[in-house]
Point group: C2
Chain length 205, copies 2
DNA sequence: ACCTGAACACCGTTCAAGT
DNA sequence: ACCTGAACACCGTTCAAGT
C-alpha cells in the first residue's frame, strides 16, 4: 500500500503527533507505542522515522502541545483578572488543568529524554513562556526596583516548581492519601504562604 | 542449572532488589529490565515472578530503599542541628541527596504504577515518615496551639512537594537552563520565602 | 518446592527493496 | 521521493516440565 503525498510532510507530522496524543488520552501512556501510532494512521512503523528522530522526540512534541494548551488557558485568565489576584488564580487554573488532563500531564512528569540528549530549544521556549507569565503575575509582589531582577526569576521558578510538585505528587498518589479536597487546598495554601513571605520580605527592606 | 535453596527466599528477594538498584545506578534506568536482573544474578527471568508480582512492584521496593536512605540522612541532620534551622538544613540535604543519586531519584520521579493499581501501605509509610520529619521541623514556625493542626500538615506537604518539584525539574533540565548554582539557590530561596510567609501569618493573628 | 526455559505477544529502530 | 515490511535485538510475563 503505497500512497505518495496523500499528506504533505507537515500534515503527516501533525497527524502523527495528534494520533499519539489521542492514544495517550484514551488509552493511557502505557499503551502508546510507535507501532500503535502507525497502526492508527495506517502507515508502517518505518514512516515515523522519516518524520522524527525517534519516539522520544515525538513524545516531546506532544508535551509541547500540552504546554501550549496550558499557556493558552493562563493567558485567557491573565487578560481578565485583576493584577493582584493573578498569581493565585493562575495557580488554581494550573491545578485544574492538570486534573482535567491527567494522562497528558502524566506524560510531562514521567517522560524523560534518553541519557546524554538535551532538551531542544523549541521545548525550552515553551517552558520559558510559562515562566514569564508567572513572572508577570509576580511583579506586583516585588518592589518596583526589582521588577527585572534575578530574585524575581528565582521566585517564578520556585512557584512553578512548587505547583509542579504538588500536582504531580497528588496525581500519582505519592502525597500519602488525603482526600482530593485536601490536595486542592494545598495549591492555595502554598501560594498564600509564599506570597505572604514575599510581602514580608518587601516590608523588611 | 537447578539450585534449591542456595539462597533463602528472603535473601533472594534482597539480592534481586539490590541488583536492580545497582543496574540503575551504574547503567541507568533505561537499561534496567527483568531479564537483565535475572542475568546479573544468574537466575532465569521466571524466578523473579516467584518473588514479586511484577517488575513494577520490584521497582517500588528499590524506591522504598531510596526513601529510607534519604530518611536516614535527614534524621542524622535532625539530631545535631538547632531547632530553628532544621528546615533549611533539611531542605539543603534533600537537594544534595538528589544530586548525589540522580539515577535513583530518577526512578522515583519517573516510575509510576500501572493504571488502576494503588500505592501499597509499606510505600506510603515511608512517605509519611519523611513528611513527619518536615512537620517536626516546621513546629517552631507555627503557633504552639497549632502544633498538631491540619495547616501544619498542609505546610509539610507543600514544602515536600516544592522541594520535589525543584529537584526533579532541575535534574531533567526542564527549568529552562540556568546554571547549577542558580538551581541550588532555588531551594534556599524557596524555603526562606515560605518560612517568612509562615511567620508573617503567625504575627498577623 | 524451587527453578527453568521455551513460548506468547509485544517493543524501538533500521534499511534494502519496491513503486 | 516516499513508504513498506521484514529483520534485528530486545522486552514483561506465564507456565508446563524438570529435578
Amino acid at each position: 500500500m503505497v500512497r505518495r503525498s496523500i499528506h504533505s510532510p507537515e500534515q503527516l507530522r501533525e497527524l502523527v503527533i495528534q494520533s499519539a496524543r489521542e492514544i495517550i488520552v484514551k488509552e493511557g501512556l502505557s499503551r502508546l507505542s510507535a507501532r500503535e501510532i502507525a497502526r492508527k494512521i495506517g502507515y508502517s512503523p518505518g514512516t515515523l522515522y522519516n518524520l522524527f528522530d525517534n519516539l522520544d522526540e515525538l513524545l516531546l512534541q506532544v508535551q509541547a502541545r500540552t504546554l501550549d494548551a496550558l499557556d493558552q488557558r493562563l493567558s485567557e485568565l491573565q487578560k481578565y483578572s485583576p493584577e493582584a489576584d493573578q498569581l493565585s488564580l493562575m495557580a488554581r487554573e494550573y491545578g485544574r488543568f492538570c486534573r482535567e488532563h491527567p494522562q497528558l500531564w502524566n506524560l510531562i512528569t514521567q517522560h524523560d529524554l534518553p541519557p546524554a540528549s538535551t532538551i531542544p530549544p523549541w521545548y525550552s521556549e515553551r517552558i520559558e513562556r510559562l515562566l514569564q507569565r508567572i513572572e508577570v503575575a509576580l511583579v506586583p509582589h516585588f518592589p518596583p526596583s526589582q521588577s527585572n531582577s534575578e530574585s524575581l526569576k528565582r521566585s517564578a521558578r520556585a512557584v512553578w516548581a512548587g505547583l509542579y510538585g504538588i500536582t504531580s505528587l497528588s496525581a500519582s498518589g505519592k502525597l500519602s492519601g488525603y482526600g482530593d479536597h485536601f490536595n486542592e487546598t494545598l495549591v492555595d495554601d502554598f501560594i498564600n504562604t509564599y506570597l505572604a513571605g514575599l510581602s514580608a520580605k518587601l516590608k523588611g527592606h
